[in-house]
């Protein structure tokens, strides 16, 4: 799943080298945190959240064990 996020997000942004994806599991809930160059946040969220909504939908379509996988977008410090 990380590979999918990595491929899609790097393909969408202006600064692919700044993309950092980490997987966090807390009390059975898996979250993928996508760290981006601040200028790229809008490109990954998209108009009305359309792009990030599609990314979340696909990540969960491929997930066979039923739990919801969260994807969040953050600015790199």
């Amino acid at each position: 799943m990380k590979h999918f996020l990595d491929f899609v997000v790097r393909s969408l942004v202006d600064n692919p080298d700044d993309v950092q994806i980490s997987e966090i599991t807390h009390e059975g809930q898996t979250t993928y945190r996508v760290g981006l160059h601040p200028a790229d946040i809008g490109l990954v969220i998209g108009k009305g959240g359309h792009t990030i909504g599609s990314i979340r939908s696909l990540v969960n379509s491929a997930n066979k064990n039923g739990e919801n996988l969260a994807v969040e977008v953050v600015e790199n410090a």
Binding site: M1, H3, F4, F7, V8, S11, L12, G46, G48, H50, T51, G53, S54, I55, S57, L58, V59, S61, A62
Partner: protein, 154 residues
């Protein structure tokens, strides 16, 4: 950066998602289309085709990032879109029958631009029914089926 082909990009996306699939290049209504063959079609189509819409949207976003003039690519799964198009227009033709019968305009449920185009095209040559789209910039808009004679009177 060389532009990756739509097919290669789609194959990478599906591969990373863990699907077992084969992609076939086809044409739908004169436009390039990629039909995906997979045993996990239901999962990839999603409820009412939402996942398929998301896949198509994301693929086209990526292709446009590499080439601003990239043509919009249609994605289908096991011919789902083709079948749906026939069912979808079938339902709308039934509603058009009501308009023909009662002579009263009927507003359809809000739909995206792809679906609206299908509806406008389906009635372009219809002698009795015209289609009017709602104004505005919303992504989902309503089409009203209007009897052509009442439109002429108005």
């Amino acid at each position: 950066m060389p532009s990756p082909s739509p097919r290669e990009t789609l194959e990478l996306m599906l591969g990373h998602l863990g699907f077992v699939f084969e992609v076939e290049e086809v044409e739908q209504g004169g436009r390039p289309a990629l039909n995906i063959h997979t045993r996990e079609a239901g999962r990839l189509i999603g409820r009412d085709g939402h996942t398929l819409e998301d896949l198509q949207y994301l693929l086209n976003r990526i292709l446009l990032r590499h080439d601003e003039s990239a043509p919009n690519v249609i994605i289908d799964v096991e011919g789902y879109r083709q079948k749906e198009k026939q069912d979808f227009l079938g339902r709308i033709r039934e509603l058009a029958e009501q308009v023909r019968h009662t002579g009263r305009p009927l507003a359809l449920a809000p739909m995206n631009s792809f679906d609206r185009r299908l509806v406008h095209q389906a009635f372009a040559e219809d002698p009795d029914i015209a289609t009017q789209s709602e104004e505005g910039t919303a992504r989902l808009k309503q089409i009203t089926l209007v009897p052509r004679h009442s439109q002429a009177e108005a």
